[in-house]
Symmetry: C2
Subunit: 262 residues, 2 copies
Amino acid sequence: MIGDENMRVLITNDDGIMAEGIAILAREMSKIAEVHVVAPDVERSATGHAITIRNPLWAKDVKFGDEFFGYAVNGTPADCVKLGVQAILKNKKVDLVLSGINKGANLGTDVMYSGTVSGALEGAMLEIPSIAISSCSNSQPNFSSAAKITLELVKKMDLENFPKFSALNVNVPPTSYDEIKGYKLTRQSKRRFQDFFEARKDPFGNTYYWMLGEIIEDDPGEDADYYAVENGYVSVTPITIFYTDSKFMKTLKDHPFFNSEN
Amino acid sequence: MIGDENMRVLITNDDGIMAEGIAILAREMSKIAEVHVVAPDVERSATGHAITIRNPLWAKDVKFGDEFFGYAVNGTPADCVKLGVQAILKNKKVDLVLSGINKGANLGTDVMYSGTVSGALEGAMLEIPSIAISSCSNSQPNFSSAAKITLELVKKMDLENFPKFSALNVNVPPTSYDEIKGYKLTRQSKRRFQDFFEARKDPFGNTYYWMLGEIIEDDPGEDADYYAVENGYVSVTPITIFYTDSKFMKTLKDHPFFNSEN
């Protein structure tokens, strides 16, 4: 627990509890809230919405020097949120779940794979207002500006009326705070990776593969998440835990399949 | 490769390549298609949409007796689909990705956590028609009836016009084929688990936690996925890889945040 205000915030991430981004976010949020950090013990990037069901979880105290920082869990971001709310905080009311600050963007189809986003979606599952935050550079992230943006966003959002089962996916340009142009409400674009595999031989003669990929950005538009970031804006995408494809549903509803008995 | 027809099908699962459900599905599909099995070497349930980015992947031949069955991969269902299409099948056209047959339901919010569903969503990412199939009982699944249902569905679906980036999540009642009443087009319900953690002490005095949960089914309606299955119907839910919450977006679009420069 850092800070001592009325608002109770649970913070997780997927880069692991020792990552710089989560420390900077926790410090910034402690200006306005009681902060609890529960995060993976090691990096769990690209874990999607994995949870741990076949093994138990441990939560170990982590100190920075002589100051208690939070709990390191041998699980995924989603595990950390569940365990944090339901065991560590003993189901006390949590006003907000934050997941981040991720080192690197979570734009377009990254959302499916992202452990950071899954931390926020798990908060949404638990009916808690939840926000995933990423600083959009793997090599030169700017965690301070992303932390300031998060604080600003949290102060202005109407958390009381945050819809159940929804979350926000926030991507911040990796520039200084002063260079950020503003906020754009965006949709998850179809920005994605064109993967390919590099085959090698291991010392025992077996083939193994490294996954590599190139970004495809073929979904332009003012409302595309990556477009906002590339143009200097914070991208704010409302997301849901419900994957139903209503358009596909419309095309299927007249299919004879669903209109006759077997 | 099993079978020798014109249609090329890639099959994965999250219960692992040695699971009964995938073998029965592969055999059934080989009646109409060239079948390629690429599946996790061990069970990867509840892996969500995890992918392997920090380690390489191996694909090992698996034989049943003297008959080649498929490739076992040290990765997740999503990894298997990527590696299967892009390395093992060398980007040859795949007409259909099937993921399953899962032992146990993938209904409601299971969809977020399910490795089975993520196998199908990865196919959708690769712009291939994709279907996840589950037999809705952990203790008494009926893989034969689910396999027959899959074959029937695949024969009648218009795969040529299957929408890009979408998939079907199919849940089959665990009864005999003859007892199944028909098909229902459904939405992903908010059926979910109310988790709780059981704390224990390890032999070294540290607390550890087992995650347990009880199902909450508070989302009734003819169109709810679990309702269809409970009433003896196959639930067919169209799902998408895009998580944008359009309802939340509408409420946010008048927020002063998005209408002023920073």
